[in-house]
């Protein structure tokens, strides 16, 4: 009996000892005051444990909207800046049952980026973006007029690509490796690797020539 009590006491002492440094640090850092940091209610990103995966050193800056973190996989060293949305659609909103939004390692998404995933969005390693880039794989053609149901196709942003400010990438698009999606581009067709696209709809304005290892001047061709 006394042995059992002793083991409980020992366990409690051990627990206190392991918590003490943490509680000390907690005392040094001020508690989160929502008003001070302007994080509206409901826009605090979920804790790492709620995500399908949340890699080491990754940071989703509040305020952010991640309604279904269990369907979002985030690699190591990812930064998603404030006011971004990583949304995996609920099944009653037209999302596919196994939909998964994947951000590979060291992706950097800037502010006000919106990623809407109904079936699958994959953003490759070290992809960068600028403010207000939008990626979505589901849309509702004619939705305001009765709708035709969601149309969806997976979106793949391959590694090393860049999405410019205010650019939009639509359903079914593959943005190739190292492609530069220009500012304000509206991408509705695949972007080949190592090209620069601009405009609405996006058109290739420059392309890397692997045979000569150069970027030919578009004016010359």
């Amino acid at each position: 009996m006394s042995g059992a009590t002793g083991s409980v006491r020992t366990a409690a002492r051990r627990a206190r000892a392991s918590l003490r440094p943490r509680l000390d640090r907690l005392g040094e850092l001020a508690p989160v005051r929502r008003s001070a940091n302007r994080v509206p209610a409901g826009r605090t990103p979920p804790p790492p444990s709620a995500f399908a995966r949340f890699g080491a050193g990754s940071w989703v800056v509040p305020p952010a909207r991640v309604p279904r973190p269990e369907r979002v996989s985030i690699g190591d060293g990812v930064v998603v800046m404030e006011h971004s949305t990583l949304e995996v659609l609920d099944e009653r909103d037209g999302g596919a049952p196994g939909a998964l939004l994947v951000l590979a390692d060291t992706v950097i998404l800037a502010r006000f980026n919106t990623v809407v995933c109904g079936i699958g969005v994959s953003i490759g390693e070290r992809v960068g973006s600028s403010d207000s880039a939008t990626v979505f794989d589901t849309w509702w053609p004619g939705a305001p007029f009765g709708g035709f149901g969601p149309e969806q196709a997976p979106v793949v942003i391959e590694r090393h690509a860049y999405l410019g400010c205010n650019s939009i990438v639509g359903p079914g698009v593959t943005v190739g490796e190292g492609a530069y999606v220009g500012e304000g581009a509206v991408v509705v067709e695949d972007v080949p690797p190592h090209t620069v696209v601009y405009g609405n709809p996006a058109r290739v304005v420059r392309a890397f020539d692997p045979t000569t290892n150069t970027w030919p001047d578009p004016a010359a061709g």
Partner: protein, 213 residues
């Protein structure tokens, strides 16, 4: 809410989550609080940068009198190109709308009395993409070319002003326009890529349509 058994491991997890949240909140607050007026190269009377805002290198930014820079602006002034000291100047009585993003590694000059709608992007450079073996965000930015927004111009919501562009005095840039070429004074440019569709005819003092080229 799901109740967890109070065990040392669960308490530790809870405390760790709280610690992380507080650390991130402190970092966020630090990054998103604009610097004091004294930190800028010049900061005119009655001007305000409304927090939250990201301001990089305020010592390279000139802000005139009675300037208003609304919430969530990002004044990204970075000495990224060797031998070039960037310079951003914002003229008197200019008002930049919410969520504006200015990427300046060379020279960006926003004249007096300019009004911009939300989500405007102004950049005098772009990320290099020429090296196909490296991620674009890790490549150096291109050689900057000066961007000028003329006196009394207006930029519509989501307008994008690219490298080397001069927007003339009193010009009107429509919403969502992507401006790749100069816009003459007192003209209207819309579209992606932007095209001048109207201009003010000085001889007749009237606005006339500009036919497509």
């Amino acid at each position: 809410m799901r109740l967890r058994r109070i065990t040392p491991a669960n308490v530790r997890r809870k405390v760790d989550e709280e610690l992380r949240a507080r650390k991130l909140a402190a970092t966020t607050a630090r990054v998103l609080t604009p610097p004091a007026p004294s930190a800028y190269k010049s900061f005119g009377r009655g001007s305000v940068v409304v927090p939250p805002a990201r301001v990089a290198s305020p010592e390279l930014i000139d802000i005139g009198d009675e300037v208003v820079i609304h919430e969530h602006s990002w004044l990204s002034v970075v000495a990224a190109v060797d031998g070039i000291t960037p310079q951003l100047s914002i003229g008197d009585r200019t008002s930049l709308g919410m969520l504006c993003h200015i990427a300046c590694v060379g020279n960006v000059e926003i004249g007096p009395d300019v009004l911009t709608a939300p989500r405007v992007f102004i950049g005098d450079t772009y990320h290099g993409y020429e090296d196909v073996h490296r991620p674009i965000i890790d490549q150096p930015t291109a050689e900057p070319r000066k961007v000028t927004i003329g006196r009394g111009a207006f930029l519509g919501a989501g307008a994008v002003i690219l490298r080397g562009v001069t927007i003339g005095d009193g010009a009107y840039v429509g919403a969502g326009a992507v401006v790749t070429r100069d816009v003459p004074p007192r003209s209207v440019a819309i579209g992606n890529p932007a095209r001048v569709v109207r201009r003010f005819d000085d001889a007749t003092a009237e606005w006339v349509a500009v036919p497509p080229a």
